[in-house]
Amino acid sequence: MGDDDLTAFYRDHYTRFFRFAWRLVSSEDKAADLVHEALTRSLPKLLPPGGAVGVPPEMWCNYLFRVIHNLAVNLMTRTREDAAGLTGEDLAGVGERTARDHAESVSGGVDVRRCLQALTVQERAAFVLAAFEGFVVREIAELLELSDDAAFRRVKSAERKLKLCLQLDGNVA
């Protein structure tokens, strides 16, 4: 594997990486930065100089996902834009909304965005990987550097919070 392979790989997967990054940081510019930065930082691992053994090509995709995730966590920590999680304040009044409110907010995208942003970036990552990227628990665990159980709990925690925030827990009138 060489430069051409890596270039082709990057071009083939760029949209997927960007989409993942955007779902973590909700910013087009930041997502593009994250993807570029992830590849730049990964180069020594993907194509190590001097013929050293690098990350196997079949693992490049997962490796990039992991780097993007780690960079997103760092970015969010640094900028303090990441909410600490869904707090009581976030959920205040959730049960008081009507189904019509819910429908309107969902159709406007407002509540969904807010609910996603109320997740920690780690929860967001776990949920996105599970729900939209088709990763299994073991893969998510590897990407997020967690145990299998912790990865699974993170997915379900995100799902539970989203369900509650979006009033999809069966209590909606």
């Binding site: 430069d3 990057y10 510019d29 997502a31 730049t40 194509l47 088709g134 699974f152 799902e159 369900k163």
Partner: protein, 267 residues
């Protein structure tokens, strides 16, 4: 009650996401998610320059010193394409833009060339660093609004009338306009220019401004003059070869790496 997970064809366990939650979020994403911009590597030469610079810095920060280009404290400097003027922008984190100006005074032969880097952040004054190969010339930058930089060169042993080469280009380069020589000191040791930077000092604009992409800036002669250091010369030549071959991005990085390896082997 739905099962919490189901077997995955590959043998792993796939979390069974509530289909309603998934559908609502998917609907939102489909509506809100932007189309991805082109990969940074394909946005043009500015982006590639930045990549090269970043690679150089990561390989060995001394490479930057070697060419008298000064690295910003952090993050990896928006650096260089030695001899080219507007180098690149490091998006997302300050500094957001860098400008390199080379100059030469004669006949004192005091410096050849002066290279200075002003990393202009989006907020606040530009971060300034200057290298003085001859040790006797100082250059300072001052950002004046979004599109203009003022640069002052001070050389106690030469007069501005004898300034024979200031290697920024006017009219077609990233620094597209020399607004004016503003002033010179009475003793003739001080000269001040204002530069108009196409696309603005804000690197985010510069990085995506098509006016800056592929504008080039210097001739091969100017480049060679600026590249007194074989190490960077080799790197940049490799980069240019890659460009000529149509290679982009990753091949650029590899080319730089290979060039540096050759340099190291040559002792």
């Amino acid at each position: 009650m739905a099962t919490l997970h189901e077997p995955h064809p590959t043998g792993g366990v796939r979390p069974d996401i509530d289909p309603t939650v998934r559908a609502v979020v998917a609907g939102f994403l489909a509506e809100a998610e932007p189309a991805p911009p082109p990969p940074l590597f394909e946005r043009g030469r500015d982006a590639i320059r930045h990549h090269v610079a970043t690679e150089l810095w990561r390989l060995d920060p001394r490479l930057l010193d070697a060419v008298r280009l000064v690295r910003a404290p952090e993050p990896p400097p928006a650096l260089l394409d030695a001899g080219l003027h507007l180098i690149s922008a490091h998006r997302g984190t300050a500094p957001t833009a860098s400008v390199v100006v080379t100059g030469r005074f004669e006949p004192a032969g005091v410096l050849a060339p002066v290279v200075a880097v002003a990393a202009a952040g989006a907020d606040g004054p530009p971060r300034l660093t200057v290298q003085e190969p001859g040790g006797r010339v100082a250059a300072t930058f001052e950002r004046r609004g979004r599109h203009e930089l003022a640069v002052s060169l001070r050389c106690p042993e030469a007069r501005p009338a004898e300034l024979v080469s200031v290697a920024w280009q006017v009219g077609e380069g990233p620094i597209d306009r020399l607004v004016t020589p503003l002033a010179s000191s009475d003793d003739g040791a001080f000269v001040r220019y204002e530069l108009h930077v196409a696309g603005g000092v804000d690197g985010r604009v510069a990085a995506s401004n098509p006016e800056l992409v592929g504008a080039g800036a210097v001739t091969a002669e100017q480049l060679e003059r600026a590249l007194a250091t074989p190490m960077l010369g080799a790197a940049v030549r490799a980069w240019r070869e890659q460009l000529a071959r149509g290679g982009l991005t990753v091949p650029v990085a590899e080319g730089v790496r290979a060039a540096l390896a050759r340099y190291d082997e040559s002792g």
